[in-house]
Protein backbone atom coordinates (compact mmCIF):
# COMPACT_ATOMS: atom_id res chain seq x y z
CA UNK A 1 0.00 0.00 0.00
CA UNK A 2 1.31 3.45 -0.94
CA UNK A 3 1.94 5.85 1.95
CA UNK A 4 2.88 9.52 1.66
CA UNK A 5 6.12 10.62 3.39
CA UNK A 6 3.96 12.22 6.10
CA UNK A 7 2.05 8.97 6.65
CA UNK A 8 5.36 7.03 6.79
CA UNK A 9 6.54 9.40 9.55
CA UNK A 10 3.33 8.80 11.48
CA UNK A 11 3.81 5.04 11.13
CA UNK A 12 7.39 5.36 12.38
CA UNK A 13 6.12 7.04 15.54
CA UNK A 14 7.33 10.60 14.91
CA UNK A 15 3.98 12.00 16.06
CA UNK A 16 3.62 9.86 19.15
CA UNK A 17 2.42 6.40 20.07
CA UNK A 18 -1.33 6.89 19.82
CA UNK A 19 -1.18 8.21 16.28
CA UNK A 20 1.32 5.48 15.38
CA UNK A 21 -1.08 2.78 16.62
CA UNK A 22 -3.97 4.45 14.83
CA UNK A 23 -2.27 4.53 11.44
CA UNK A 24 -0.93 1.01 11.99
CA UNK A 25 -4.54 -0.18 12.33
CA UNK A 26 -5.57 1.62 9.13
CA UNK A 27 -2.59 0.21 7.21
CA UNK A 28 -3.15 -3.34 8.51
CA UNK A 29 -6.81 -3.26 7.48
CA UNK A 30 -5.80 -1.77 4.14
CA UNK A 31 -3.33 -4.61 3.59
CA UNK A 32 -5.87 -7.27 4.60
CA UNK A 33 -8.44 -5.91 2.14
CA UNK A 34 -6.02 -4.90 -0.62
CA UNK A 35 -6.29 -1.08 -0.38
CA UNK A 36 -3.93 0.97 -2.57
CA UNK A 37 -3.71 4.03 -0.28
CA UNK A 38 -5.29 6.02 2.54
CA UNK A 39 -7.98 8.54 1.64
CA UNK A 40 -9.30 11.56 3.62
CA UNK A 41 -12.67 11.14 5.35
CA UNK A 42 -15.14 13.91 6.20
CA UNK A 43 -16.38 12.60 9.55
CA UNK A 44 -16.22 9.61 11.89
CA UNK A 45 -18.86 7.88 13.97
CA UNK A 46 -17.42 5.60 16.62
CA UNK A 47 -18.97 2.40 17.97
CA UNK A 48 -17.92 0.79 21.22
CA UNK A 49 -19.56 3.19 23.64
CA UNK A 50 -21.93 1.15 25.82
CA UNK A 51 -20.21 -0.25 28.89
CA UNK A 52 -22.43 -3.28 28.30
CA UNK A 53 -20.55 -4.05 25.07
CA UNK A 54 -16.92 -2.94 25.58
CA UNK A 55 -16.52 -3.50 29.34
CA UNK A 56 -13.38 -2.63 31.30
CA UNK A 57 -11.10 -3.77 28.47
CA UNK A 58 -12.43 -1.17 26.06
CA UNK A 59 -12.51 1.55 28.71
CA UNK A 60 -8.86 0.91 29.50
CA UNK A 61 -7.77 1.15 25.87
CA UNK A 62 -9.63 4.39 25.17
CA UNK A 63 -8.37 5.95 28.43
CA UNK A 64 -4.76 5.15 27.47
CA UNK A 65 -4.96 7.01 24.13
CA UNK A 66 -3.63 10.54 23.68
CA UNK A 67 -4.10 13.33 21.15
CA UNK A 68 -7.09 14.86 19.41
CA UNK A 69 -9.28 13.79 16.50
CA UNK A 70 -8.72 15.61 13.18
CA UNK A 71 -12.29 15.47 11.80
CA UNK A 72 -15.79 15.92 13.27
CA UNK A 73 -16.34 12.76 15.30
CA UNK A 74 -19.33 11.47 17.19
CA UNK A 75 -20.33 8.43 19.25
CA UNK A 76 -22.69 5.51 18.89
CA UNK A 77 -25.49 5.16 21.50
CA UNK A 78 -24.42 4.53 25.09
CA UNK A 79 -25.94 2.12 27.60
CA UNK A 80 -28.13 4.79 29.20
CA UNK A 81 -29.62 8.26 28.95
CA UNK A 82 -26.67 10.33 30.20
CA UNK A 83 -28.96 12.65 32.19
CA UNK A 84 -31.95 10.49 33.20
CA UNK A 85 -30.23 7.13 33.78
CA UNK A 86 -31.64 6.88 37.28
CA UNK A 87 -35.24 7.02 35.97
CA UNK A 88 -34.38 4.16 33.58
CA UNK A 89 -33.39 1.98 36.53
CA UNK A 90 -29.67 1.90 35.65
CA UNK A 91 -27.30 0.60 38.32
CA UNK A 92 -25.10 3.48 39.67
CA UNK A 93 -21.96 1.34 39.22
CA UNK A 94 -22.81 0.88 35.52
CA UNK A 95 -23.60 4.61 35.23
CA UNK A 96 -20.20 5.55 36.65
CA UNK A 97 -18.36 3.28 34.20
CA UNK A 98 -20.47 4.61 31.33
CA UNK A 99 -19.60 8.20 32.28
CA UNK A 100 -15.90 7.27 32.39
CA UNK A 101 -16.07 5.86 28.85
CA UNK A 102 -17.74 9.02 27.54
CA UNK A 103 -15.23 11.25 29.33
CA UNK A 104 -12.35 9.23 27.86
CA UNK A 105 -13.74 9.86 24.36
CA UNK A 106 -14.31 13.54 25.16
CA UNK A 107 -10.64 13.90 26.12
CA UNK A 108 -9.78 12.94 22.52
CA UNK A 109 -11.93 15.80 21.17
CA UNK A 110 -14.86 13.58 20.19
CA UNK A 111 -18.32 15.13 20.49
CA UNK A 112 -20.07 13.19 23.20
CA UNK A 113 -23.38 13.01 21.40
CA UNK A 114 -24.42 9.37 21.39
CA UNK A 115 -26.66 8.48 18.47
CA UNK A 116 -27.18 6.00 15.65
CA UNK A 117 -28.49 8.85 13.45
CA UNK A 118 -25.53 11.25 13.10
CA UNK A 119 -27.00 12.42 9.76
CA UNK A 120 -29.67 14.43 11.68
CA UNK A 121 -27.01 16.42 13.54
CA UNK A 122 -25.26 19.71 12.92
CA UNK A 123 -21.84 19.14 11.34
CA UNK A 124 -22.51 15.59 10.16
CA UNK A 125 -24.54 16.23 7.02
CA UNK A 126 -22.99 14.22 4.23
CA UNK A 127 -23.75 14.20 0.51
CA UNK A 128 -23.42 11.93 -2.50
CA UNK A 129 -19.90 10.47 -2.98
CA UNK A 130 -18.49 11.85 0.32
CA UNK A 131 -16.05 9.46 2.02
CA UNK A 132 -16.69 8.91 5.73
CA UNK A 133 -15.76 6.38 8.45
CA UNK A 134 -18.88 5.40 10.36
CA UNK A 135 -19.45 2.36 12.56
CA UNK A 136 -23.04 1.85 13.52
CA UNK A 137 -24.61 -0.56 11.07
CA UNK A 138 -27.84 1.38 10.43
CA UNK A 139 -25.97 4.68 10.08
CA UNK A 140 -23.59 2.99 7.63
CA UNK A 141 -26.56 1.67 5.67
CA UNK A 142 -28.32 5.07 5.63
CA UNK A 143 -25.17 6.94 4.59
CA UNK A 144 -24.31 4.47 1.82
CA UNK A 145 -27.81 3.80 0.52
CA UNK A 146 -30.11 6.77 1.19
CA UNK A 147 -27.44 9.49 0.89
CA UNK A 148 -24.98 7.77 -1.46
CA UNK A 149 -21.95 8.60 0.72
CA UNK A 150 -19.21 5.97 1.06
CA UNK A 151 -18.24 4.08 4.19
CA UNK A 152 -17.32 0.58 5.27
CA UNK A 153 -18.86 -0.83 8.42
CA UNK A 154 -16.03 0.28 10.68
CA UNK A 155 -15.25 -1.43 13.96
CA UNK A 156 -14.85 0.79 17.06
CA UNK A 157 -11.01 0.90 16.98
CA UNK A 158 -10.79 1.44 13.22
CA UNK A 159 -13.33 4.31 13.29
CA UNK A 160 -11.44 5.88 16.18
CA UNK A 161 -8.18 5.45 14.23
CA UNK A 162 -9.77 7.12 11.20
CA UNK A 163 -10.89 9.99 13.47
CA UNK A 164 -7.37 10.49 14.88
CA UNK A 165 -5.63 10.26 11.49
CA UNK A 166 -8.43 11.92 9.46
CA UNK A 167 -8.18 9.13 6.86
CA UNK A 168 -9.22 5.58 6.15
CA UNK A 169 -7.94 2.81 3.88
CA UNK A 170 -9.36 2.85 0.35
CA UNK A 171 -11.17 -0.49 0.02
CA UNK A 172 -14.64 -2.01 0.08
CA UNK A 173 -17.54 0.44 -0.25
CA UNK A 174 -15.17 3.34 -1.01
CA UNK A 175 -14.69 1.76 -4.46
CA UNK A 176 -17.19 2.00 -7.36
CA UNK A 177 -17.02 -1.70 -8.26
CA UNK A 178 -17.97 -2.81 -4.73
CA UNK A 179 -21.16 -0.72 -4.83
CA UNK A 180 -22.84 -2.50 -7.73
CA UNK A 181 -25.94 -4.54 -6.83
CA UNK A 182 -25.55 -8.31 -7.16
CA UNK A 183 -29.03 -9.52 -6.20
CA UNK A 184 -32.50 -8.24 -7.12
CA UNK A 185 -35.34 -8.14 -4.57
CA UNK A 186 -38.78 -7.96 -6.16
CA UNK A 187 -41.57 -6.86 -3.84
CA UNK A 188 -45.02 -7.84 -5.14
CA UNK A 189 -47.15 -5.48 -3.00
CA UNK A 190 -47.38 -1.89 -1.80
CA UNK A 191 -45.79 -1.28 1.61
CA UNK A 192 -46.03 1.50 4.18
CA UNK A 193 -44.51 2.46 7.55
CA UNK A 194 -43.24 -0.46 9.58
CA UNK A 195 -43.76 -2.81 6.58
CA UNK A 196 -40.37 -1.62 5.37
CA UNK A 197 -38.65 -2.70 8.61
CA UNK A 198 -40.36 -6.08 8.23
CA UNK A 199 -39.13 -6.27 4.62
CA UNK A 200 -35.55 -5.65 5.78
CA UNK A 201 -35.93 -8.27 8.50
CA UNK A 202 -37.06 -10.87 5.94
CA UNK A 203 -34.60 -10.04 3.16
CA UNK A 204 -31.51 -9.58 5.37
CA UNK A 205 -31.60 -13.27 6.27
CA UNK A 206 -31.24 -14.30 2.60
CA UNK A 207 -29.00 -11.54 1.29
CA UNK A 208 -26.28 -11.83 3.97
CA UNK A 209 -23.56 -9.25 3.31
CA UNK A 210 -24.24 -8.74 -0.42
CA UNK A 211 -25.55 -5.56 -2.11
CA UNK A 212 -29.23 -5.90 -3.09
CA UNK A 213 -31.33 -3.69 -5.35
CA UNK A 214 -35.03 -3.48 -4.51
CA UNK A 215 -37.81 -3.21 -7.07
CA UNK A 216 -40.73 -1.86 -5.06
CA UNK A 217 -44.33 -1.05 -6.03
CA UNK A 218 -44.22 2.31 -4.26
CA UNK A 219 -41.57 4.81 -3.23
CA UNK A 220 -40.59 4.71 0.46
CA UNK A 221 -39.92 7.88 2.49
CA UNK A 222 -36.49 8.51 4.00
CA UNK A 223 -37.77 7.36 7.41
CA UNK A 224 -39.03 4.13 5.84
CA UNK A 225 -35.68 3.60 4.12
CA UNK A 226 -33.95 4.15 7.47
CA UNK A 227 -36.04 1.33 8.96
CA UNK A 228 -35.43 -0.93 5.95
CA UNK A 229 -31.66 -0.45 6.08
CA UNK A 230 -31.43 -0.92 9.85
CA UNK A 231 -33.27 -4.25 9.63
CA UNK A 232 -31.22 -5.43 6.63
CA UNK A 233 -28.03 -4.76 8.58
CA UNK A 234 -29.31 -6.57 11.67
CA UNK A 235 -30.92 -9.75 10.35
CA UNK A 236 -28.21 -9.82 7.66
CA UNK A 237 -25.01 -7.79 7.29
CA UNK A 238 -26.06 -5.47 4.48
CA UNK A 239 -24.06 -2.20 4.46
CA UNK A 240 -25.45 -0.85 1.17
CA UNK A 241 -28.68 -1.36 -0.76
CA UNK A 242 -30.28 0.37 -3.71
CA UNK A 243 -33.92 0.98 -4.64
CA UNK A 244 -34.61 1.24 -8.36
CA UNK A 245 -35.62 4.80 -9.26
CA UNK A 246 -35.33 6.02 -5.65
CA UNK A 247 -31.87 5.90 -4.03
CA UNK A 248 -29.35 8.39 -5.50
CA UNK A 249 -26.91 5.91 -7.02
CA UNK A 250 -29.66 3.79 -8.56
CA UNK A 251 -31.04 6.94 -10.17
CA UNK A 252 -27.63 8.11 -11.40
CA UNK A 253 -26.02 4.80 -12.42
CA UNK A 254 -29.02 2.95 -13.92
CA UNK A 255 -27.76 -0.46 -12.75
CA UNK A 256 -28.56 -3.53 -14.81
CA UNK A 257 -30.91 -5.94 -13.07
CA UNK A 258 -28.90 -8.75 -11.40
CA UNK A 259 -29.70 -12.31 -12.52
CA UNK A 260 -30.39 -13.63 -9.04
CA UNK A 261 -33.88 -12.64 -7.93
CA UNK A 262 -35.42 -12.89 -4.45
CA UNK A 263 -39.21 -12.51 -4.66
CA UNK A 264 -41.02 -11.14 -1.59
CA UNK A 265 -44.76 -11.58 -1.08
CA UNK A 266 -47.20 -9.87 1.29
CA UNK A 267 -47.55 -13.06 3.36
CA UNK A 268 -43.85 -12.94 4.29
CA UNK A 269 -44.28 -9.38 5.59
CA UNK A 270 -47.40 -10.38 7.52
CA UNK A 271 -45.53 -13.27 9.16
CA UNK A 272 -43.19 -10.77 10.86
CA UNK A 273 -46.21 -9.17 12.60
CA UNK A 274 -47.69 -12.59 13.41
CA UNK A 275 -44.55 -13.98 15.09
CA UNK A 276 -44.78 -13.94 18.89
CA UNK A 277 -48.40 -12.88 18.78
CA UNK A 278 -48.84 -15.16 21.79
CA UNK A 279 -47.26 -12.40 23.89
CA UNK A 280 -50.64 -11.20 25.18
CA UNK A 281 -49.43 -8.01 26.73
CA UNK A 282 -45.92 -6.57 26.49
CA UNK A 283 -44.40 -5.04 29.62
CA UNK A 284 -42.72 -2.22 27.71
CA UNK A 285 -43.12 -0.55 24.33
CA UNK A 286 -40.10 1.01 22.64
CA UNK A 287 -39.83 2.99 19.43
CA UNK A 288 -36.93 4.92 17.93
CA UNK A 289 -34.61 2.22 16.62
CA UNK A 290 -32.85 3.85 14.78
CA UNK A 291 -33.33 7.11 16.71
CA UNK A 292 -36.46 9.07 15.76
CA UNK A 293 -36.32 11.90 13.24
CA UNK A 294 -38.26 15.11 13.81
CA UNK A 295 -41.07 13.84 11.54
CA UNK A 296 -41.31 10.62 13.53
CA UNK A 297 -41.47 12.58 16.81
CA UNK A 298 -44.24 14.72 15.28
CA UNK A 299 -46.17 11.63 14.23
CA UNK A 300 -45.90 10.11 17.73
CA UNK A 301 -46.84 13.41 19.40
CA UNK A 302 -49.96 13.50 17.22
CA UNK A 303 -50.89 9.90 18.03
CA UNK A 304 -50.62 10.30 21.83
CA UNK A 305 -52.24 13.74 21.98
CA UNK A 306 -54.84 13.85 24.75
CA UNK A 307 -54.09 10.24 25.79
CA UNK A 308 -52.66 8.63 28.92
CA UNK A 309 -50.52 5.53 28.42
CA UNK A 310 -50.83 2.76 30.99
CA UNK A 311 -47.47 1.09 30.34
CA UNK A 312 -43.84 2.09 30.16
CA UNK A 313 -43.06 3.46 26.70
CA UNK A 314 -39.71 4.76 25.45
CA UNK A 315 -39.32 7.03 22.44
CA UNK A 316 -35.60 6.99 21.63
CA UNK A 317 -33.91 9.87 19.85
CA UNK A 318 -30.70 11.89 19.65
CA UNK A 319 -30.32 14.46 22.43
CA UNK A 320 -29.65 17.24 19.91
CA UNK A 321 -32.91 16.46 18.07
CA UNK A 322 -34.86 16.42 21.36
CA UNK A 323 -33.28 19.70 22.48
CA UNK A 324 -34.16 21.38 19.20
CA UNK A 325 -37.84 20.41 19.68
CA UNK A 326 -38.79 20.81 23.36
CA UNK A 327 -42.44 21.28 22.30
CA UNK A 328 -42.57 17.79 20.76
CA UNK A 329 -40.84 16.24 23.78
CA UNK A 330 -43.37 17.90 26.07
CA UNK A 331 -46.35 16.73 23.99
CA UNK A 332 -45.07 13.14 23.96
CA UNK A 333 -44.16 13.07 27.66
CA UNK A 334 -47.57 14.47 28.67
CA UNK A 335 -48.95 11.04 27.74
CA UNK A 336 -46.58 9.32 30.16
CA UNK A 337 -44.19 8.10 27.45
CA UNK A 338 -40.51 8.90 28.06
CA UNK A 339 -38.34 10.56 25.44
CA UNK A 340 -35.08 8.71 26.04
CA UNK A 341 -31.83 10.16 24.63
CA UNK A 342 -28.30 8.85 24.02
CA UNK A 343 -29.34 5.18 24.15
CA UNK A 344 -31.88 2.62 22.94
CA UNK A 345 -33.61 -0.65 23.81
CA UNK A 346 -30.86 -2.72 22.18
CA UNK A 347 -27.76 -1.35 23.94
CA UNK A 348 -29.17 -0.42 27.36
CA UNK A 349 -29.11 -2.99 30.17
CA UNK A 350 -32.35 -1.34 31.41
CA UNK A 351 -34.21 -3.44 28.80
CA UNK A 352 -33.12 -6.73 30.37
CA UNK A 353 -35.43 -6.45 33.36
CA UNK A 354 -38.59 -6.73 31.23
CA UNK A 355 -40.00 -10.09 30.13
CA UNK A 356 -41.60 -8.86 26.91
CA UNK A 357 -41.35 -5.88 24.60
CA UNK A 358 -43.22 -4.48 21.59
CA UNK A 359 -41.13 -2.75 18.91
CA UNK A 360 -41.75 -1.16 15.49
CA UNK A 361 -38.17 -1.85 14.36
CA UNK A 362 -36.90 -4.83 12.40
CA UNK A 363 -33.48 -4.18 13.86
CA UNK A 364 -34.74 -4.28 17.45
CA UNK A 365 -36.73 -7.42 16.60
CA UNK A 366 -33.52 -9.08 15.38
CA UNK A 367 -31.36 -8.09 18.36
CA UNK A 368 -33.46 -7.71 21.53
CA UNK A 369 -34.32 -11.43 22.00
CA UNK A 370 -30.67 -12.55 21.82
CA UNK A 371 -28.85 -9.54 23.30
CA UNK A 372 -31.31 -8.68 26.08
CA UNK A 373 -33.07 -12.04 26.52
CA UNK A 374 -36.46 -10.36 26.17
CA UNK A 375 -39.33 -11.77 24.05
CA UNK A 376 -40.16 -9.29 21.28
CA UNK A 377 -43.25 -8.57 19.21
CA UNK A 378 -43.46 -6.48 16.03
CA UNK A 379 -46.13 -3.84 15.42
CA UNK A 380 -46.81 -0.64 13.50
CA UNK A 381 -46.40 2.66 15.36
CA UNK A 382 -50.19 2.90 15.78
CA UNK A 383 -50.38 -0.61 17.27
CA UNK A 384 -47.37 0.08 19.51
CA UNK A 385 -49.30 2.96 21.08
CA UNK A 386 -52.44 0.80 21.42
CA UNK A 387 -50.28 -1.84 23.14
CA UNK A 388 -49.17 0.84 25.63
CA UNK A 389 -52.76 0.91 26.90
CA UNK A 390 -54.38 4.12 25.79
CA UNK A 391 -56.87 5.87 28.02
CA UNK A 392 -58.56 8.96 26.66
CA UNK A 393 -57.96 11.88 28.98
CA UNK A 394 -61.17 13.66 28.05
Amino acid sequence: MYLTPEEEKTLDGEYGRSLQKAIEILVALGDIYGADKLIPVKSAQIAGVSYKTIGDAGLEWISDLEGKVKIPSILNPAGMDIVRWDEMGIDPVFAKKQQEIIEAYAKLGIQTKCTCTPYYLEGFNVTLDDHIAWSESSAVSYANSVIGARTNREGGPSALSAALVGKTANYGYHLDEMREPVVAVEVDCELSGSDFGALGYVVGKTVGSRVPIFYTKNEPSKNEMKALGAALAASGAVALYHIEGVTPEAVRNKFTRPDEVIPVERTQIDEVYEANKDIQSSEIITVGCPHCSVEELEEIAGLVEGKKLQKEMWVCTAREVAERHPDLVQRIEKSGAKVVCDTCMVVSPATNKYASITVNSGKALAYVPSMCKVAAKYASIEDCIKEAGVVDEN
Binding site: K21, E24, I25, A28, L29, D31, I32, G48, T53, I54, G55, D56, A57, G58, E60, W61, G155, G156, P157, S158
Partner: protein, 134 residues
Protein backbone atom coordinates in the same frame (compact mmCIF):
# COMPACT_ATOMS: atom_id res chain seq x y z
CA UNK B 1 15.70 -21.13 9.12
CA UNK B 2 13.98 -17.86 8.16
CA UNK B 3 10.48 -17.87 6.69
CA UNK B 4 9.10 -14.80 4.92
CA UNK B 5 5.63 -13.54 5.82
CA UNK B 6 3.34 -10.52 5.73
CA UNK B 7 3.42 -7.88 8.49
CA UNK B 8 0.12 -7.17 10.23
CA UNK B 9 1.17 -5.88 13.68
CA UNK B 10 4.77 -4.67 13.91
CA UNK B 11 7.22 -5.82 16.57
CA UNK B 12 9.69 -8.56 17.49
CA UNK B 13 9.16 -11.38 20.00
CA UNK B 14 10.47 -14.82 20.82
CA UNK B 15 8.62 -17.75 22.35
CA UNK B 16 7.46 -21.35 22.22
CA UNK B 17 5.05 -22.39 19.51
CA UNK B 18 1.49 -23.37 20.44
CA UNK B 19 -0.48 -24.58 17.41
CA UNK B 20 -4.18 -25.02 16.86
CA UNK B 21 -6.23 -25.81 13.78
CA UNK B 22 -9.29 -24.14 15.34
CA UNK B 23 -10.12 -20.48 14.77
CA UNK B 24 -10.24 -18.40 17.98
CA UNK B 25 -12.96 -16.05 19.19
CA UNK B 26 -11.11 -14.07 21.84
CA UNK B 27 -14.44 -12.97 23.32
CA UNK B 28 -15.75 -16.14 24.89
CA UNK B 29 -12.93 -18.62 24.09
CA UNK B 30 -10.21 -17.00 26.23
CA UNK B 31 -10.17 -15.97 29.91
CA UNK B 32 -8.82 -12.38 29.88
CA UNK B 33 -7.51 -12.75 33.45
CA UNK B 34 -5.38 -15.89 32.91
CA UNK B 35 -4.94 -16.38 29.16
CA UNK B 36 -6.46 -19.84 29.41
CA UNK B 37 -8.69 -21.27 26.66
CA UNK B 38 -12.03 -21.85 28.40
CA UNK B 39 -14.17 -23.09 25.50
CA UNK B 40 -14.65 -26.88 26.01
CA UNK B 41 -15.12 -27.46 22.26
CA UNK B 42 -11.79 -25.80 21.43
CA UNK B 43 -8.71 -27.88 20.57
CA UNK B 44 -6.65 -25.91 23.13
CA UNK B 45 -9.22 -26.21 25.96
CA UNK B 46 -7.49 -25.87 29.33
CA UNK B 47 -4.19 -24.61 27.89
CA UNK B 48 -2.75 -21.12 28.39
CA UNK B 49 -1.77 -18.92 25.46
CA UNK B 50 0.22 -16.55 27.73
CA UNK B 51 3.74 -15.89 26.44
CA UNK B 52 3.35 -18.36 23.54
CA UNK B 53 3.79 -17.87 19.84
CA UNK B 54 0.21 -18.73 19.06
CA UNK B 55 -0.41 -20.25 15.64
CA UNK B 56 -4.07 -20.35 14.53
CA UNK B 57 -5.82 -20.05 11.17
CA UNK B 58 -7.71 -16.80 11.86
CA UNK B 59 -9.94 -15.04 14.37
CA UNK B 60 -13.73 -15.18 14.51
CA UNK B 61 -16.69 -13.92 16.54
CA UNK B 62 -17.41 -10.55 18.16
CA UNK B 63 -15.34 -7.46 17.41
CA UNK B 64 -15.09 -6.98 21.20
CA UNK B 65 -12.42 -9.69 20.84
CA UNK B 66 -9.94 -6.91 19.96
CA UNK B 67 -10.41 -5.42 23.43
CA UNK B 68 -10.06 -8.84 25.05
CA UNK B 69 -6.57 -9.13 23.50
CA UNK B 70 -5.83 -5.71 25.04
CA UNK B 71 -7.04 -6.99 28.42
CA UNK B 72 -4.74 -10.03 28.13
CA UNK B 73 -1.88 -7.62 27.40
CA UNK B 74 -2.70 -5.38 30.39
CA UNK B 75 -2.90 -8.47 32.61
CA UNK B 76 0.47 -9.71 31.37
CA UNK B 77 -0.97 -12.88 29.85
CA UNK B 78 -1.10 -12.03 26.13
CA UNK B 79 0.65 -14.31 23.63
CA UNK B 80 4.25 -13.24 22.85
CA UNK B 81 3.36 -13.21 19.15
CA UNK B 82 0.73 -14.62 16.79
CA UNK B 83 0.89 -16.31 13.39
CA UNK B 84 -2.24 -16.66 11.22
CA UNK B 85 -2.88 -18.31 7.90
CA UNK B 86 -4.95 -15.24 7.01
CA UNK B 87 -5.53 -12.43 9.53
CA UNK B 88 -8.91 -10.72 9.85
CA UNK B 89 -9.69 -7.34 11.47
CA UNK B 90 -10.61 -8.50 15.00
CA UNK B 91 -7.27 -10.13 15.74
CA UNK B 92 -5.32 -7.61 13.64
CA UNK B 93 -6.71 -4.63 15.58
CA UNK B 94 -6.34 -6.44 18.93
CA UNK B 95 -2.70 -7.29 18.19
CA UNK B 96 -1.81 -3.75 17.12
CA UNK B 97 -3.33 -2.00 20.13
CA UNK B 98 -1.71 -4.61 22.42
CA UNK B 99 1.73 -4.48 20.79
CA UNK B 100 1.69 -8.19 20.04
CA UNK B 101 3.58 -8.94 16.80
CA UNK B 102 1.25 -10.57 14.27
CA UNK B 103 2.07 -12.00 10.84
CA UNK B 104 0.19 -14.04 8.26
CA UNK B 105 0.70 -15.60 4.80
CA UNK B 106 3.96 -17.41 5.65
CA UNK B 107 5.74 -18.58 2.51
CA UNK B 108 5.68 -22.14 3.94
CA UNK B 109 2.64 -23.72 5.61
CA UNK B 110 3.19 -23.08 9.34
CA UNK B 111 1.38 -26.32 10.20
CA UNK B 112 4.00 -28.29 8.24
CA UNK B 113 7.16 -26.60 9.43
CA UNK B 114 6.28 -25.73 13.05
CA UNK B 115 5.35 -28.01 15.95
CA UNK B 116 4.35 -27.39 19.56
CA UNK B 117 7.32 -26.40 21.72
CA UNK B 118 9.54 -25.10 18.88
CA UNK B 119 11.31 -21.85 19.75
CA UNK B 120 10.73 -19.16 17.16
CA UNK B 121 11.37 -15.46 16.72
CA UNK B 122 8.58 -13.52 15.07
CA UNK B 123 10.08 -10.40 13.53
CA UNK B 124 7.04 -8.68 12.11
CA UNK B 125 8.80 -5.36 11.55
CA UNK B 126 11.09 -7.04 9.00
CA UNK B 127 8.48 -9.60 7.90
CA UNK B 128 10.06 -12.93 8.80
CA UNK B 129 9.66 -15.81 11.26
CA UNK B 130 12.86 -17.54 12.40
CA UNK B 131 12.84 -21.14 13.59
CA UNK B 132 15.71 -21.50 16.06
CA UNK B 133 17.99 -24.57 15.88
CA UNK B 134 17.47 -27.18 18.56
Amino acid sequence: MKIKCRTISRGVAEGEVLLTNDAISFLGNVDPETGEIVEPQHELYGQSIAGKVLVFPHGKGSTVGSYVIYQLFKNGVAPAAMINLESEPIVAVGAIISEVPLVDRLENDPYEILKNGDRVIVNSTEAFVELKDE
